[in-house]
Subunit: 353 residues, 2 copies
């Protein structure tokens, strides 16, 4: 393995100049740069990361913390982050909570080892103490999806987007609308789920529409759970809604499959709208609000890298709210007449959040 000195010798310069030429820091004459570059290529030399990191204090490595990998939103955001980081010449170290299994370990051990120059937290639900641990790492941090106390976050306005989705259904004439979303998880507030549910509730209230308790469904964001729960509700002739607003496309697809398996047609018998912009929604005709997940990841990287430069750019904790794009496809339509006129059952009650 050739070292920096070998390159220096071959190029006829000092190790310092090799460092400057190869790292891009400091000024080097064009001719010296060329000789160094060629010598490095010939010798198959690449700067050692640990050594550079130790000497300079910067590692050109960003940590990404997330609770899941294989769900659509997370893997899509991750792809955006990975792409932007590679382009910028940064490495990406992945920290996965695996739901909660490694939550503690990641927060206390891994993040403190200053292996990274900064952190991106994707849809993390942290309590105050955990946010404290995160900040104790002293690393510049940017969040993606869902507000994080005191940390600038790239996200959509969950409440407004959800309200828009629900209003779309209401505008079509639906009055019996159910919401499938997430919940406030044990001890950890989950602002994304809460915000989306709040958007649904506020839209229903604004339209003076009742919300049956059975219509406010708590799921785990998987297609299969949404399928099961939607099926159960749809099978009940008394409580059956004419439309679903789902907090994710994966759940919306589950609801569509449930309807089909019950012999209900979408959108004739049931309208479904989601949030995400999942590619597969296209062929199912799923109407949705595209939150450009990949772009959220890209933006987070740019924002974070902007803070790392010699002139730290925007440092404020202000959140950056990305717009969601309404994709009207074929899963939503006006309810059938005989459904609309059906008065809500007398047991109807208003349910607040």
């Amino acid at each position: 393995m050739a070292g920096i000195k070998d390159v220096a010798r071959v190029a006829g310069v000092s190790a310092a100049t090799v460092s400057r030429a190869l790292s891009g820091n400091g000024s080097v004459s064009t001719s010296a740069r060329e000789r160094v570059t060629r010598a490095a290529r010939d010798l198959g030399f690449v700067l050692s990361y640990p050594a550079s990191a130790l000497a300079s204090g910067r590692s050109r490595n960003i940590g990404v913390v997330l609770p899941f990998i294989s769900r659509w939103y997370f893997s899509t955001v991750l792809e955006g982050i990975a792409s932007a980081l590679t382009e910028a010449g940064y490495d990406l170290t992945l920290y996965n909570f695996q739901k909660d299994k490694f939550r503690e370990k990641v927060l206390t051990d891994f993040l403190q080892r200053n292996r990274t120059d900064g952190l991106i937290a994707v849809a993390l639900q942290l309590d105050d103490q955990e946010i404290g641990q995160l900040r104790a790492s002293g690393l510049p941090t940017v969040g993606v999806g869902g507000p994080l106390q005191g940390i600038p976050t790239i996200r959509i306005d969950d409440r407004a987007v959800s309200r828009q989705a629900t209003d779309h259904l209401i505008g079509l004439g639906h009055t019996r609308i159910s919401h499938i979303g997430g919940e406030n998880e044990e001890g950890h507030s989950f602002p994304i789920s809460l915000g989306r549910r709040a958007g649904y509730t506020s839209a229903m209230q604004a339209a003076s529409l009742p919300v049956l308790p059975a219509w406010s469904i708590i799921s785990d964001y998987t297609t299969s759970d949404a399928y099961r729960q939607a099926k159960q509700l749809l099978a009940d002739p008394v409580q059956r809604p004419t439309a679903f607003f789902c907090a994710s496309d994966e759940m919306a697809m589950g609801a569509m499959m449930a309807a089909r398996d019950l012999g209900l047609r979408v959108p004739d018998d049931l309208s479904v709208i989601g949030i995400d912009g999942h590619e597969t929604g296209d062929i199912l005709g799923l109407t949705t609000l595209d939150q450009s997940a990949r772009q959220q990841g890209v933006r987070a990287v740019h924002r974070l890298l902007g803070q790392l430069g010699p002139t730290p750019a925007d440092v404020g904790p202000a959140d950056e709210i990305l717009p969601a794009r309404f994709l009207l496809r074929t899963s939503t339509a006006a309810p059938r007449r005989d459904q609309t006129v059906t008065a809500p059952p007398s047991s109807t009650v208003q349910v607040g959040l």
Copy 2:
């Protein structure tokens, strides 16, 4: 930021002992270990990774190279890898080709910076020169999914599993079976796709069944592309198959949706079988061969870490073939009589691989 010397002073020992106590290498008396641990905790001290890596030559970091993240197989394998690495106290650095966009950059730059102790290559399709670059990194490497010249790989037997899937359809009485799979990509052999197609072809040949050219479909592994291609084929009354064997569950689901949109029922009018074990396949009733993707990732980590210890375990390049579990659900059944008796069109030809 407290340094190792501060801890040493507080604990009343030397820096070397602090290092030994905290890293777990070398022997330390119980009392010294306790004092060091407490002092470190009190001072909020954690060993610096770059410094440790530089001094010891080991980084406790594994690189994972993959061409995609957001597809089911890749994100699931990645989750298995991440889980096993976290458990072992290793970090995970992600290198994503993004199909081909960063292929060159990752191979030539990123991997050579010896930031990692080893590499896991997931379903990579590399030509000889690229494999050379990979090995030039000098890092212990393990592959996952699809053979890699000279690199021990954890995988299923693509050909055998595909043959089993096809034989299942043949056993049910199907004679008009189409395969949706991948291809040999520009310059890069793609052993996974080739192996699966070979399994299909050999099963058909063994049963003396013809394979129409239109039945051998090349897709990009996405649900939507498989949907479009399956729909087109199914819409052709002359060439329409009675069954699909798909190289992935995501494509199989696309085929099922295509059938439904054409008014065909699964399995009455069309049987579909996939490979993967995708969770969503469950609610669709998709018959498949579960390749336990997550487990492949876990195994790869154990195998790789086994090579890193002081006593390198099994070093041989022998591949480790994992079994696939046959999940019989409701998407496959015997073809309807009137379909079976239809003789293949006279234009039928045998297509070899």
